[in-house]
């Protein structure tokens, strides 16, 4: 999906820069973060559709970052990047709710394919959520303020 917002998280600066360049060239809007903390900060500041997250990072590693993201309760989908040595961790991440994983080094086409899949899933989930909310509002119009808090609406309008 052209224009989807991607957050790239990896401690390898050059890798992140190159990846961003490649994804930009393919029409994605890319934000980068060099650590788990930075990624969480970025997520709370802006809306992101898909996060590409490296498992092995100094400080907060991929799994911990993933758990933190879950707490934010977003529709954002997460793609894990891993070396072969940590496939078990990747599987663990999928159990925790990550969309899929990729082994490094990876082909850009492969990555794009997975990003598309993740975006579709995110989009589907978002639409389903929206439908549920609308259903709720239709059933009891009073609850419109609970379902769509003011802040959320403002963001939508923006």
């Amino acid at each position: 999906m052209i224009g989807a917002k991607i957050l790239l998280v990896d401690d390898e600066e050059i890798f992140v820069r190159n990846m961003a360049k490649l994804l930009n060239a393919r029409g994605y809007e890319v934000t980068t973060a060099l650590s788990g903390d930075a990624a969480i900060r970025a997520l709370s500041e802006q809306l992101v559709d898909v996060v590409v997250l490296d498992l092995k990072m100094p400080g907060m590693d991929g799994l911990a970052t993933l758990k933190e993201m879950q707490k934010l309760d977003l529709f954002t989908q997460v793609l894990m990047l891993t070396g072969h040595g940590s496939i078990d961790s990747a599987l663990e991440a999928m159990r925790l709710g990550a969309y899929d994983y990729l082994t490094k080094p990876c082909e850009i086409d492969e990555l794009v394919l997975k990003i598309e899949g993740a975006w579709e899933k995110k989009d589907g989930a978002e639409q389903k959520d929206m439908m549920d909310k609308i259903q709720k509002v239709v059933e009891s119009p009073k609850s419109v303020f609970e379902v769509f808090p003011r802040k959320n609406i403002e963001e939508k309008e923006k």
Binding site: F15, L22, H84, D88, K104, P105, I108
Partner: protein, 587 residues
């Protein structure tokens, strides 16, 4: 075994083997010796005790028997003599000399005495001058004068006299009894010759066992009766006559001058002195016969001791041998475990290292890969490039791609070798599984002129194991087996499956007819990164991966090889997965 010894065993394997054999031998000797000493000594002590005790007991019994015997004979002899002397006394005291001097009177008395069986040979009356006044008997002795006879003086002095055996006038061994009596203050003598035959038969007819004899000797050591063996009456005995002693004397005597070899010189001698005359009654028996019972018992004890000793020896040897076999088996088991442990820990540490290296290399590889793609993107977006330059760029970029993929394959293998994965255990039919892999490989093998020969046991039970990991092992081994035929135009690969001997698992054997593995590298083939293939062809991880997979599945893999003939891998797989004791797992 201490650590130092283990290390020594590694450094000098044949030496250690020899030393261990020596140790076994030492142990064997020591144990058998100990068993023998600890069981034979009490046995010998008991045997000895029984022997001493019994010998004493039997000896006492025998001596008692002999004592009873000799006492009995003494009583008989003394009774005989006493009876005869009493008769003579009675005659002398109840008749006058003049009465008895008449031959008809004396003859009547003589007949009366001998009526109940002959006991006197002759009888005579002698006056104080030694003249024969009357004589009844078979000899013509009436004109003899006994004044000079050795007994005459003695009887005149003592009143009663019993002589030793002597030849006398008649030149025949005999002995006499004489008593004195007084007629008006004039002494006279009643003398009688004892029937020697009757007397001697009292003694000589006694039989004690085979070698026992009874005889009489006088104080001068002259036989008074003929002994059963050696010597006869009136001869001097070889047996030293003891000093006069009271009661019964018992002794052992070595007959040093025994002239014939068939009698044992050792004798048991029991003797007692008669009251009157001073004759020694001797009961003599060969020691061996007398102590036959003792000897018999001793022999029995001896045989018993020998049999016991022998059986203890046999049992000790057998038990020790059995124990040694057990110890040897356990030692071998320990060796095998040690070897396995070493291999495992080697793999573990190398695995850890290679995982780290692979991971670190993956990151730069990822960057190289992205750089290539950026260049590729740029190349596509730049339409006005010189065609040669574009061709070169495309060429280089695709080469970069090939090489990154190669690197990726290596790191991929490295990580697979070391990675921890949870095995997915499922029941599987090994034969069908093997057949699948063989089918998969057959085409490639046929190209190389190699054919598969499978001998799969039909009654193989279902195995619970990890199919994908096993597949990798088989593929690796079969690929190696096929590659081993590179220098040969054709060959065969035998694959057999069978139930293991203890029925706890399955034995799978893959044997090729390839070039074989040199013995000096045979123990390195399971080490990671060890390869004989040309650079770039193999990572040297295939067999390490096989080894660690089989280990993880609770099995064993071993290899045999001979140069030019081929290599054979034996794999044991347990029927049920073994929990615990697996390869130390790591992150």
């Amino acid at each position: 075994m201490t650590a130092a010894e283990t290390n020594g065993a590694d450094d000098f394997m044949p030496n250690a083997d020899y030393r261990r054999r020596e140790e076994y031998r030492k142990f064997f000797r020591r144990f058998v010796l100990l068993t023998l000493v600890s069981s034979l000594i009490p046995l010998l002590l008991v045997g000895w005790g029984i022997n001493i005790h019994y010998t004493k007991f039997a000896r006492n019994r025998m001596i008692e028997n002999l004592n009873t015997e000799i006492d009995h004979h003494r009583k008989i002899i003394e009774l005989f003599l006493e009876e005869n002397i009493s008769k003579l006394k009675l005659i002398a005291r109840t008749h006058t000399r003049d009465y008895l001097s008449r031959p008809s009177n004396l003859s009547r008395i003589f007949e009366m005495i001998n009526r109940d069986g002959a006991s006197l040979t002759d009888i005579g009356i002698i006056d104080h001058d030694g003249r024969h006044l009357a004589y009844i008997g078979p000899y013509d002795l009436l004109d003899r004068n006994y004044a000079q006879a050795f007994w005459f003086q003695q009887v005149m002095e003592k009143g009663i006299f019993i002589s030793d055996m002597f030849l006398g006038f008649r030149r025949e061994p005999h002995f006499i009894m004489a008593v004195t009596s007084l007629d008006n203050g004039d002494p006279w003598i009643l003398r009688a010759t004892i029937d020697t035959e009757a007397f001697r038969s009292l003694v000589e007819n006694v039989r004690i066992g085979k070698t026992g004899e009874v005889y009489l000797v006088n104080s001068g050591g002259i036989y008074q009766t003929t002994p059963r063996f050696h010597g006869s009456i009136m001869e001097k005995t070889r047996f030293p006559v003891a000093e006069s002693h009271a009661g019964i004397d018992f002794r052992l005597w070595e007959d040093a001058s025994a002239d014939n070899g068939n009698t044992s010189p050792r004798q048991v001698i029991c003797s007692v002195w008669l009251q009157e005359p001073r004759w020694l009654l001797v009961v003599k028996q060969e020691y061996d016969e007398a102590f036959d019972a003792v000897n018999h018992a001793n022999r029995a004890v001896l045989i018993f001791l020998h049999i016991s000793g022998l059986s203890i020896l046999i049992v000790a040897v057998l038990v020790t041998r059995h124990m040694l076999a057990m110890i040897r088996r356990r030692d071998m088991e320990t060796d095998r475990l040690n070897e396995q442990l070493m291999q495992t820990s080697k793999l573990a540490s190398i695995g850890e290292l290679s995982a780290g290296v692979a991971h670190e290399i993956n990151n730069p590889l990822a960057i190289i890969s992205t750089e290539r793609q950026i260049l590729l993107d740029c190349e596509k977006q730049t339409p006005d490039l010189p065609p040669e330059f574009r061709a070169q760029i495309n060429d280089s970029l695709s080469q970069i791609d090939v090489q990154t993929r190669r690197c990726k394959r290596i790191t991929h293998n490295l990580l697979r070798f070391s990675r921890r994965t949870t095995s997915i255990m499922e029941p599987l039919n090994l034969n069908a599984f093997v057949q699948e892999v063989v089918d998969l490989m057959e085409r490639e093998a046929n190209v190389n002129g190699v054919k598969f020969v499978t001998d799969l046991s039909k009654d193989l039970p279902t195995l619970v194991s990890d199919a994908s990991q096993l597949q990798q092992v088989f593929l690796n081994l079969i690929t190696n087996a096929v590659d081993a035929h590179n220098e040969k135009p054709y060959g065969r690969i035998d694959i057999t499956t069978q139930l293991s001997k203890d029925e706890q698992g399955v034995m799978l054997c893959i044997a090729d007819s390839g070039s074989g593995i040199p013995p000096e590298v045979l123990d390195k083939i399971f080490d990671p990164f060890f390869t004989t293939k040309p650079v770039g062809k193999g990572t040297g991880l295939g067999l390490s991966i096989c080894y660690s997979i089989i280990q993880r599945l609770g099995g064993r893999i071993s290899v045999e090889s001979s140069i030019g003939k081929g290599t054979r891998f034996d794999i044991f797989l347990p029927l049920q997965p073994v929990s615990g004791g697996e390869l130390a797992e790591k992150q």
